[in-house]
Subunit: 212 residues, 2 copies
């Protein structure tokens, strides 16, 4: 199980020839790190006199960030579970006409199934991005840089998961289904990257020195 | 020690009020995931008849990717070790003139020390990016999406580590030293992001479906 991994064990398996974990699972871990950084910023803002006015918002953000962090690790596992049948389908025989037809059908279903977790990782990452956007304006200025790091990880998780949707969609025979999937992933990617840029601008104001 | 972490233990500590790990250590983990994906692509290209021509290059890339992955975890630890004195310096008393002078001096040294690991994380990430750039042209087309995921993680590691350099540099009294540090980080960030874009373009060709 994904949640049983040591950090080095996860990196070792990611480096290896094993079909899982792959880029999808790694994207979920990047998303989990982003959610964790959001939780950290909420924790370090909470209870501070200077931020008393936003305490109610912080009280909502913290459990939500922790929930999304845990959900990301579940999605990493779901990605591994959904990729396995696809990795097996590639090896099916294709000597006879019947074998080829069977393989094509199994492949199509496996490609559909393997595309779902990356898409869910993207949706979950957009939720993390929303929390970070709020934290970029209300969170403690002492840790504003960590909000920026979180946004960078969200952007990486979105790009990483989208590449997995795109490569699966490329091999699908049902082009209508594939096009819909690609459009959905592209929409999430574009929205997320726009939000990341808004956060970076907000963060930059807090971390750059100026003479004025 | 960083290398003893379980994946969930790392995320729990990252989420917490604890001063370490923070955004710097998390950036190193993102860099380690990027290096691992590079190693994975090298592993899945190695020994394949179709890629026999690039076997010599793959034989060089694989151990290098593994070395950079391990180095990243060392840098995550160095970041934690270097941040601790800074987190302590913030708490020094500043009632008397003498106390203020002492605190300013300790802070300046602690800020310098805390800036070094993020800068090394950036340098190490640029080395990973170079490997991925090569893999984007010679690596197995089956896993070209994972080269893209790796580049996205490198970009996130560069941004994340640079935010930590910038926020430390902002508080430094020696503005010449700070400006030099910021220029160095900005240069690595710009170079890395340009390389990431080159890799994305190469990857896009491999993962996007077209009618032609």
């Amino acid at each position: 199980m994904f949640s049983d991994y040591s950090l080095t064990g996860f990196l070792d398996d990611l480096s290896s020839r094993k079909p899982m974990p792959g880029g999808g699972g790694a994207s979920a871990v990047a998303g989990a790190m982003a959610a964790s950084l959001g939780a950290m910023v909420a924790n370090l803002t909470s209870g501070k006199k200077r931020y008393a006015e936003v305490q109610d918002q912080i009280d909502e953000i913290l459990p939500e960030a922790e929930r999304l962090r845990d959900r990301m690790l579940e999605l990493a596992q779901e990605d591994a579970d959904a990729f396995y049948p696809l990795s097996q389908a590639y090896g099916l025989p294709k000597e006879t006409e019947e074998e080829r037809a069977h393989k094509a059908e199994v492949m199509e279903q496996a490609l559909r199934r393997a595309s779902e977790p990356p898409l869910h990782i993207m949706e979950c990452t957009c939720e993390v991005m929303d929390l970070l956007e709020t934290l970029s304006t209300i969170g403690s200025r002492m840790v504003i840089s960590d909000v920026g790091v979180g946004a960078a990880f969200c952007e990486a998780a979105l790009k990483g998961a989208s590449f997995n949707v795109f490569i699966n969609a490329k091999s699908m025979q049902d082009r209508d289904y594939a096009d819909e999937l690609v459009a959905k992933a592209q929409g999430l990617l574009d929205d997320g990257c726009t939000k990341a840029d808004t956060i970076y601008k907000q963060v930059e104001r807090g971390i750059r020195w100026s003479r004025s």
